[in-house]
Symmetry: C2
């Protein structure tokens, strides 16, 4: 089939009258119809409403930047009138009475809410039934927790989808499924109406096929407002502060390479794709500068785990006490862990997180962004795991923005990606750096299923 | 003696060449010399440095807004070269190697750092030796924990001083000693270089004699930068957002009266002063509108206590384990409490605080500020307590800005005050409201000691 349309291209055709929103919806529904029995990316597809909305939008002059664009919403964010099941049998009867602010913002921008995409149980660790379309033999995890969103975008079931990341729940499934994603600065996007995992770590964000599309989505999502408890944005020496800059001719960026940890822990197939990607970027003019880690980086995984375990346990405590049997083994063990932690231990982890954020800010004194592989491996050939968050969790903990871009297909036939990490608050400038890199990464492979 | 000079008046005279910074320093040192043996407001008076700096500034053209103004700094904030004892025997040997950012900001603005004012032990509850100058028989607490700063300003030992508030440590001692204070929005002022009590509750702020002086100080303090984790500023319907507005002709404000709790729990002497103050404001044109509390207000005291106990216990845990005998009984009991709390309980208190902040924001939909007595009683006639934070802690928990203005001397001869509370982020507009009120409150009494 043809390569699925991007938001940018679909919007252009809609504006020019060459594409009706209803046609686009039908194309998406066809892809869902064709593949979803196999990949299980969707919990709810709201066909009738999507068609009705598309017809209505088709009669209107395009106003918002997402006019007529069908989107999938991870099934932990409320969409009015649809259930928010959060991957748990405990929420079978939950029906959202109003849109989450982030969903309302997308709707205001003209988006068609196609339905709800599968999430791992309560956006934690127990795998969902979703399968990875890059392996026609269905042995590989699609990653999680935003499994359905990643698969839906990978298979052209929608041009883009919304997910959330607490550890690596946007970047990991996007990487395993060969799509792009952006985790903005912590606090940028309103988390109201979303089933929380962990207050100090949760980040909603978009998945799409291109950096332009990510930026369109992020600008709409940010309009939903955000919490205020982000890390302090660090003024960049000589840099512009978080403004929409002229992106027509971005200069070659200075990229910081964290070889320690990331290039040590990466496996061979991902290493090869990463080195090849770095070589192309260097050849195109990017300055790659090795950087050392800030002190204390080795504590990020246990600190992240402590914060996540406690905050998840706080949210689930009553329901977990009453319905323990309805929780999966991995989330149960997380909640049990959270219930045994002392307040002082948790307060120490939060204090550590604040120090870590300040240390991470210092990494950007000489570079525009950091670059490293998005994941340590390609999608594991297992349906018992969604992979490890170890390459993504540090940046969720730091609250800094990340853009992950597919950068090649590894020797095992599965896609790999690089992630670009920017200073807190500099989301737009990071997207500009990512746009520059995207051109040279030139990823255009599609899942074999789509051939 | 003459009424002590305000910053505004002293600055005018310094600029006009009618007052040398050294003269002002000498006046302050005379007051310290005259009274400090009795009131114990100062831990360290840096006479030589103050005189040297004053001479140097006297030879320069005034640049910063605090040029030549002597200030006292609560002895939990670092001043380069001076000890930061924090009211604890455990810190006898601590000498600060650099200024806290907030102190550096004052110094850059031209302030003369006269010395360190007494704090209650680690800014908690165990009374310091400081005495209240409104009672010549020395039976009354000056309040705490910023005891020395309040007494120093009350006695004209310095035109203004810096304190901090976690529960009520600025507003309570300022009220008990008859001076004005301002606790800005949480996160406005950098808390670096200050011995912490509780990350989610600590607020540095100025004490002075007038609203103009508070504003001058706050503008300098804010220049120190701030943490980012403040409560989200709430756009006011039709209001200006946090800008320096024309303050020459402020309109009569709409003031919300929280009669529930505050007017129920207040004792008779403070009630009388408050009612008289409200009558004067109403007569001058202020619109006083009774408001109901947001749901859940009754939980604010235990939630505040949980957060404070845990975060203090986290900071002190090692030292407290090793040197328990060097801690006072009240802080020991706070730390013991913090050590027994579970992470989930503390996370629930933090989540409650975030909800409370959102609820408090809704109080400002129809009014410019809230008004209520600053304290439930005048200074208790006891040296075993610094009074209760129950009227101040709700606003520390909410993170909203507060200006407290002396409003009269109560029937027991001790001063009382009203506090004005504004929406998060609206510090400058609140100061403008306070300036309007100050005119009609017209407090000009001095401690009997100064007669």
């Amino acid at each position: 089939m043809d390569k699925p349309l991007t938001i940018t291209e679909a919007s252009r055709r809609i504006r020019d009258g060459r594409l009706a929103p209803l046609e686009l919806v039908e194309t998406c529904l066809e892809q869902i119809d064709r593949f979803d029995d196999q990949v299980h990316a969707w919990v709810t597809v709201d066909e009738q409403q999507a068609r009705r909305t598309a017809e209505m939008l088709g009669r209107q002059t395009p106003r918002g930047p997402l006019h007529g664009i069908p989107l999938g919403i991870k099934d932990i964010a409320d969409v009015e009138g649809l259930p928010t099941r959060a991957g748990s049998p405990l929420r079978e009867d939950h029906v959202a009475r109003q849109d989450a602010p982030l969903v309302a913002a997308l709707r205001r921008a003209g988006a068609i809410l196609l339905g709800k995409t599968v999430t791992v149980e309560f956006a934690c660790f127990d795998p969902s039934p979703t399968l990875n379309p890059w392996d026609p033999q269905w042995r590989h995890t699609p990653g999680g927790s935003s499994s359905g969103s990643a698969v839906a975008v990978a298979l052209g079931m929608c041009p883009a989808a919304i997910g959330t990341q607490t550890g690596g729940s946007l970047v990991r499934p996007a990487t395993y499924c060969g799509v792009a994603t952006c985790k903005p600065t912590f606090g940028r996007i309103d988390t109201g109406g979303i089933v929380p995992v962990s207050y100090h770590l949760d980040h909603p964000g978009p998945m799409a096929r291109t950096v332009d599309d990510l930026e369109i989505l992020l600008r709409c999502l940010v309009a939903s407002g955000g919490a205020a408890e982000g890390p302090p944005p660090k003024p960049q020496p000589g840099g512009r502060r978080d403004e929409s800059a002229d992106s027509s001719r971005p200069a070659a960026p200075r990229l910081g390479l964290l070889e320690q940890f990331f290039m040590e822990e990466v496996d061979q197939p991902v290493r090869e794709v990463t080195l090849s990607a770095l070589a192309r970027l260097r050849e195109a003019g990017a300055k790659l500068e090795p950087l050392a880690f800030p002190d204390g980086f080795e504590q990020v995984q246990p600190m992240h785990r402590t914060i996540m375990a406690v905050e998840a346990a706080e949210y689930h405590r009553r329901q977990f006490a009453d319905h323990r049997d309805s929780y999966g083994p991995l989330i149960s063990s997380l909640l049990d862990e959270g219930l045994t932690i002392s307040a002082v231990q948790y307060a120490a982890a939060l204090a550590w997180q604040r120090r870590f954020r300040r240390r991470v800010a210092t990494l950007f004194e000489e570079v525009d962004a950091l670059i490293m592989p998005s994941t340590d491996t390609t999608a594991p050939a297992s349906l018992e795991t969604t992979g490890t968050p170890k390459f993504q969790a540090p940046w969720s903990c730091a609250g800094v923005p990340v853009v992950s871009l597919p950068s090649g297909v590894a020797s095992d036939g599965m896609p790999a990606a690089v992630q670009l990490v920017g200073p807190a608050g500099d989301d737009w400038r990071l997207l500009q750096v990512a746009r520059w890199c995207e051109r040279w990464l030139a990823f255009d492979a599609l899942p074999p299923l789509m051939a």
